[in-house]
Amino acid sequence: MSDAISVHAGASAYFGRRRSARSMAYGTWYVTEHRLRTMRAYLGSIIAGSVFNPVLYLFALGVGIGSYIDSNAGAPGIGGVGYLVFVGPALLVSAALTVAFEECSYPVMGGFKWTREFWAMNATPIDARQVVNGVLLAAGFRIVFTVAVFWCCLAAFGASPSGYGFLAMPAAVLSGLAFGSVIMAVAANLEEDDGWFPIINRLIITPMFLFSGTFFPLEGLPIWLRWLGWISPLWHGTQLGRAAAYGMSEPVWLTLVHVAYIAGMLGVGLGLSWRSFRRRLSK
């Protein structure tokens, strides 16, 4: 047992002139690094979920329902492709959104309320914005992993016929980040666990999943319900994914709208999260 403590044993040699210099530059990455390290604790369930989930969905929806629909719809199927090809990009994007929700809801509320780890981070040179960016970036790593596994399954099931099919992956990842940033802003404002996330799940996520042109084209909805798709990141991401996966034809301006909507959502979500984190941490 050592009772001696060296107060200045050489940390200053690594700090440079200002003690915040390195944290200012790499702070976001330090937060990400920490969260990835924490994720290792439940790595098994992350991997298992990422692999079983797509296989399950692709069998049930693509192969099971798909073969039924295809045999009834006749040769062209939906939009000229088989049901599995049609529904694949939507499932890919929705998997990204699900992971984003998992990483940006309870873990963010808990970082303030239960573990209080955001205060611990902010007691160092790290600032509120870096905490937000780092948490979202770590979620991004998980989204990338999930999307990559899912896409490989899609390809294996023959659901990504186009040579540009891989472009569905960045579309899904960006949709996930955009959605996650908004969920994070909401989570950062929840001071009590009043059951808001189950409500969001039932009233926003489930309808979004069902009515974003996921299982049938948005045109299949009456015009007065189509706005559900228009405001949904899932629809915009899915349409991009479909354009990539099987060259779904769409006016160029609409493709640009999809990209702009997702980018805009990410921007707004990040801005709101920065503000909420700063307000909460600097009280």
């Binding site: 700090f15 604790a41 600032d127």
Partner: protein, 311 residues
């Protein structure tokens, strides 16, 4: 950081409002290098709010504050790089191991692994958690978690260590282990700022302290000087039973410099405790229990505010 006059923290008219509530009301104080400085007061006195402003996370509403010669509004991250913070509520990462907590935290200061590895081992040894280095934080006792939080706060070799209620909620033995470690840090020259509502903690650890109540500073000085200034040398404590204390207080007039009647006991402030107690008994008053003790900071607080520290 250049700091020739040795003033680590300087507050002038420091004020913090939460909406309509003024949590810290124009306080002035200075903390010098190597000093153990205490903020003593009951819950809600504004100690933690003051502490969070010193920690350069909470923004002041008014007044001046300078930490290591810098304004936290302008140089928050830079100042925080020089601080170690032990918050009132533990905020360790309970999902990773004891040693990883230190390494991960050290990364936030931009320190490289080759420095953090040996440093983490040294600190774990210092806070006597070597056998727990690979344990999950969940498995630690309250006292061990506090010690780990202190080790974590030292990972960047801070110039100032801020401790907000460091031993609240710990059992007496765990408190003594913690005090011993903090005392060694003090001996090693670390500047300590400690908030507490325990007068014994303040007396043991603090070279100098301010007594706070309702956001204001009531008094400032060394523990000994505060006791000399605001209390007598000794205190006679008498208990006559809760319904009789107030009744019998009248018959004690003339004893000591001052008498405080509390619901559970009567305190007589005097320089000659044993003699006074003997004369009280001669007079035919029969307290259920009696005690002569030295004055403490608790008495100072009672004198200054008319209330006890722990309510």
């Amino acid at each position: 950081m250049d700091n020739p006059n040795g003033i680590m923290i300087k507050a002038r008219g420091l004020t913090k409002d939460f909406g309509e509530v003024r949590a810290v009301d124009s306080v002035d104080f200075e903390v010098r290098k190597g000093e153990a400085f205490g903020l003593l007061g009951p819950n809600g006195a504004g100690k933690s709010t003051t502490m969070r402003m010193i920690a350069s996370v909470s923004r002041r509403t008014g007044g001046e504050l300078s930490i290591l010669g810098l304004d936290p509004n302008e140089h928050g991250p830079d100042i925080r790089g020089h601080l170690g913070v032990v918050p009132q509520q533990d905020n360790l990462d309970v999902e990773i191991r004891v040693r990883d907590n230190l390494v991960v935290y050290g990364r936030y200061f931009g320190l490289p692994m080759k420095f953090l590895g040996p440093k983490a081992d040294e600190l774990i040894e210092f806070v006597q958690l070597t056998e727990k280095a690979k344990a999950k934080v969940d498995t630690l006792s309250g006292g061990m978690k506090r010690r780990l939080t202190i080790a974590r706060a030292l990972i960047n070799e801070p110039d100032i260590l801020l401790l907000d209620e460091p031993t609240t909620g710990l059992d007496p033995q765990a408190r003594h282990i913690l005090w011993d470690r903090l005392f060694r840090l003090k001996e090693a020259g670390v500047t300590l700022v400690i908030t507490t509502h325990y007068m014994d903690e303040a007396e043991q650890l603090c070279d100098r302290l301010i007594v706070m109540d309702k956001g204001k500073i009531m008094a400032e000085g060394t523990p000994a000087r505060l006791i000399r200034e605001y209390s007598s040398r000794e205190v006679v404590e008498l208990r006559f039973g809760s319904d009789r204390n107030a009744v019998l207080a009248g018959q004690l007039a003339g004893f000591g410099d001052r008498i405080e009647v509390l619901p559970d006991r009567i305190l007589i402030y005097t320089d000659t405790g044993e003699e006074d107690l003997a004369r009280i008994v001669e007079r035919g008053l029969r307290p259920l229990t009696s005690l002569v003790r030295r004055s403490s900071l608790e008495d100072v607080f009672l004198r200054l505010t008319g209330r006890s520290l722990i309510e």
